[in-house]
């Protein structure tokens, strides 16, 4: 049977290399690499929109009521819309498409050694649905009444009726966009999981899969398992808004708390959905640039399983002050604090990987290390919030805001830059400029800390989130606090300015950069064994795998790396 299948396979392979016209290659591609680029570029455009929103509302906070350059006056409703859509865009239209769909699409078939995703046309469909969802979201900013302003959590009753939200179609289009986005990632996710389960190169056992692939797949599984109830919830919310049902309205027997449960049953695993791909990418990067085997491959993997499992039983820590049953709050405090154990263990594994390695501070490594440092702060501050007693004070304050930006910024932005700088040579066949890359790194990382560290202190001082103008609160309108706000906003502007360097570096390197060799970083995994950029169909002859992905500095070998597909020497 296997031999027969092998002959059939070569037949297909031959016909697979026909030249494609422009339309089928770039507009309606089934090649996973092109679809990955589509996701990454769409995500980056959405990131620019999200960043622009952040700029507008931070300027309003620093200089309340004044004209914002390049934006205009920020009204109260508009402020809510900006905050809401900044959060929504950054999580659903930046973190997920770039990290999971984009890099997942790019690296999964390459790293497991096959020529494409198992369902190429499903892959294309999922991108098209994603694109529609992004367009629907953008459309929602321009309808009568403006974009939705009920926060990315969209709690009813505020979100469930136009008379409360004042954005009749804005909120409905928002729900629709989010639901479409979920459907898109469900379809994409099925593809990722099935590909990794079924299409691995011969010889690649479960424990030979690179951690980046493992974690992206785990993330997708978490997503699939958590999003279902929220899709149901989104349907219910949409019907509340448009048809007038009362699923979430107490006046008709419904229960607004139910939405919170549906939302956070998804929302908390979602944090790990976006975290895991970055953790995986970082694991691959630090092993390459420390020239060391990953410390405890299995430990890292099992801690990820534990994190994933626990992430389903912690959701109510977002609702401690929502009037949930106090006995349940007890349970959720325990599980919330428990989840820091596997994550801490994973962090120690990463640090142990660095210990004694010969570390090269190339740009991807800088991003990876800064991710570990910044995420550590985010994780540690989370422990305070997990305790229900402290949460009563901290909830919805800037402390929470700073905490989750210290997790989400490293995950999304730093993770994205780490991945882009690491795989850029493979994706475009050219090297990025190291000097510009380092300037961009420091110009992003330092201002990032300057934005969000001060916000912890604002939160401790009692500053509440989602407030348009603090001048109406005498305790919060003091000069000292206002100075902190101005400082944070100024840091944001500096950080946004440094992104121009990245954009310049990205596009100039894409066309004019130094030609990249097949394996510029001397890494082991399969994608580095083929030309950069990989041709259509990826591998000339599909590889066979002989060892795990992290065999760096193996004793008794001349080279300090050992590609996964290099046959063992016969002795």
């Amino acid at each position: 049977m296997s031999q027969e299948a092998a002959t059939v396979q070569t037949d297909i392979h031959e016909e697979h290399h026909e030249e494609l016209n422009f339309l089928h290659k770039y507009i309606l591609p089934t090649d996973h690499k092109i679809i990955a680029m589509q996701y990454i570029f769409t995500g980056m455009i959405m990131a620019i929109i999200g960043g622009y929103f952040a700029y507008a509302f931070r300027m309003q906070l620093a200089f309340p009521g004044e004209l914002v350059p390049f934006y205009g006056l920020v009204g109260p409703g508009e402020y809510n819309m900006l905050v809401t859509n900044h959060g929504t865009i950054m999580i659903f239209w930046v973190a997920m498409p770039v990290l999971i769909a984009g890099f997942g699409n790019y690296i999964i078939p390459l790293m497991i050694g096959c020529d494409d995703m198992v369902f190429p046309r499903l892959n294309r469909l999922s991108y098209q649905i994603f694109l529609v969802s992004a367009l629907v979201l953008i459309l929602s900013f321009f309808v009568k009444g403006g974009g939705f302003g009920g926060a990315w959590t969209s709690y009813p009753p505020l979100s469930s009726a136009a008379e409360y939200s004042l954005t009749d179609w804005g909120s409905s289009l928002w729900v629709l966009a989010v639901a479409l986005e979920f459907v898109s990632f469900l379809l994409g996710g099925i593809n990722f999981i099935t590909t990794t389960m079924n299409a691995r190169a011969p010889g690649m056992k479960m424990m030979d899969i690179p951690i980046a692939v493992w974690f992206i797949v785990l993330a997708v599984i978490l997503f699939m398992a958590s999003v279902g109830p929220l899709i149901a919830g989104a349907v219910m919310l949409f019907m509340d808004q448009r048809i007038g049902t009362t699923f979430f309205l107490p006046s008709g027997g419904g229960d607004p708390l139910l939405w919170q449960h549906l939302f956070w049953f998804f929302g908390h695993p979602e944090v790990y959905v976006v975290l895991l791909p970055t953790l995986g990418i970082v694991a691959d990067i630090i092993t390459v640039f420390a020239r060391k085997k990953l410390f405890g491959y299995r430990t890292v993997l099992y801690t990820a399983f534990a994190t994933g499992g626990l992430s389903f039983v912690v959701w109510a820590h977002h609702q401690f002050i929502a009037g949930i049953d106090p006995r349940m709050a007890n349970v959720f405090v325990v599980t919330t604090v428990l989840i820091s154990i596997p994550l801490a263990e994973m962090m120690f594994s990463y640090i142990a990987t660095l210990y004694g390695g010969s570390i090269e501070f190339k740009t991807p490594m800088l991003w990876a290390l800064s991710f570990l440092a910044a995420f550590l702060i985010g994780g540690v501050t989370g422990i305070y919030l997990g305790a229900s007693a402290l949460d009563v004070y901290f909830h919805d304050s800037y402390f929470v805001l700073a905490h989750f930006h210290y997790t989400f910024f490293p995950i999304t932005i730093i993770g994205m830059f780490a991945a882009i700088t690491y795989w850029f040579p493979k994706m475009f066949g050219r090297m990025m400029n190291e000097t510009l890359g380092k300037i961009h790194f420091w110009g992003t990382f330092i201002p990032f800390n300057c934005i969000f560290l001060p916000l912890f202190f604002l939160g401790l001082a009692g500053q509440h989130r989602r407030i348009y103008n603090y001048n109406h609160f005498p305790d919060l309108a003091t000069q000292e606090l206002q100075d902190i706000r101005v400082f944070a906003t100024a840091s944001l502007v500096v950080m946004l300015f440094f992104q121009l360097i990245f954009i310049y570096n990205f596009f100039v390197s894409m066309f004019k950069g130094e030609k990249a060799p097949n394996n510029p970083w001397k890494a082991n995994s399969l994608e580095w064994s083929i030309p950069s950029p990989p041709p259509h169909g990826n591998f000339k002859t599909l590889p066979t795998v002989y060892r795990g992905p992290y065999e760096y500095s193996a004793p008794g070998r001349d080279l300090d790396y050992w590609p996964q597909n290099e046959p063992p020497e016969k002795s």
Partner: protein
């Protein structure tokens, strides 16, 4: 059976054909969508939310006939799969169209039920029970329609002689739609206490 698409599609490290594995993952995600709705419904029902006594107004006869129709359609689609395994394309084609026919009967009975309820003033906004009733049976009906369309497309493919494995896949999906109805039936029609 002709083989198309990338090599990846024809690999099978788990021993389960790729299409079937993908279908199972799809169904797993569907379990959460329907399961989430059912969980919400049960929560409200056990809570004694006003309006849920209206479950006695739904027609057990119509529901039972629909259950019968769906169960029978499940049988016909599995027979279509059995036929195609033996290579009998015409028989399989016939059974697939029987299944589509049963799906149509199901939808007609459903429409008749909806009409009757709406005439009596039990619209989707009447109370929470009817909201759930129309949302869940509506979502289920959408799945039925989707399944029928896909089945029609597949039936012509297999008559031409390719993609035989898809009969099994649409069958698995169709059985899942049947399973959902098996749970909706007692929830909406029988359990009125």
């Amino acid at each position: 059976m002709s083989m198309r698409g990338p090599i990846a599609t024809h690999r099978s490290a788990t021993g389960i054909p790729t299409g079937r594995l993908g279908t199972w993952w799809l169904l797993a995600s569907e379990i959460f969508i329907f399961g989430g709705l059912i969980a919400c419904f049960i929560l409200f029902k056990l809570n004694g939310t006003p309006g849920f006594e209206d479950a006695s107004l739904t027609s057990v006869t119509a529901g039972a006939i629909n259950t019968f129709v769906l169960l029978t359609s499940s049988l016909s689609v599995v027979l279509a799969h059995a036929a195609i395994e033996k290579g009998d394309r015409e028989k399989s084609f016939k059974y697939i169209w029987y299944t589509i026919g049963f799906g149509l009967v199901f939808l007609i009975i459903k429409t008749y039920e909806y009409t009757g309820k709406i005439i009596h003033g039990h619209t989707i906004t009447d109370n929470l029970f009817w909201s759930f009733y129309y949302t869940m049976t509506g979502l289920h009906a959408l799945h039925v329609i989707g399944g029928m369309v896909i089945m029609a497309l597949i039936s012509f493919d297999i008559r031409k002689g390719y993609n035989f494995q898809r009969v099994e896949l649409i069958g698995i999906y169709w059985h899942f739609v049947d399973l959902v109805w098996i749970f909706l039936f007692p929830l909406f029609y029988i359990a009125n206490f």
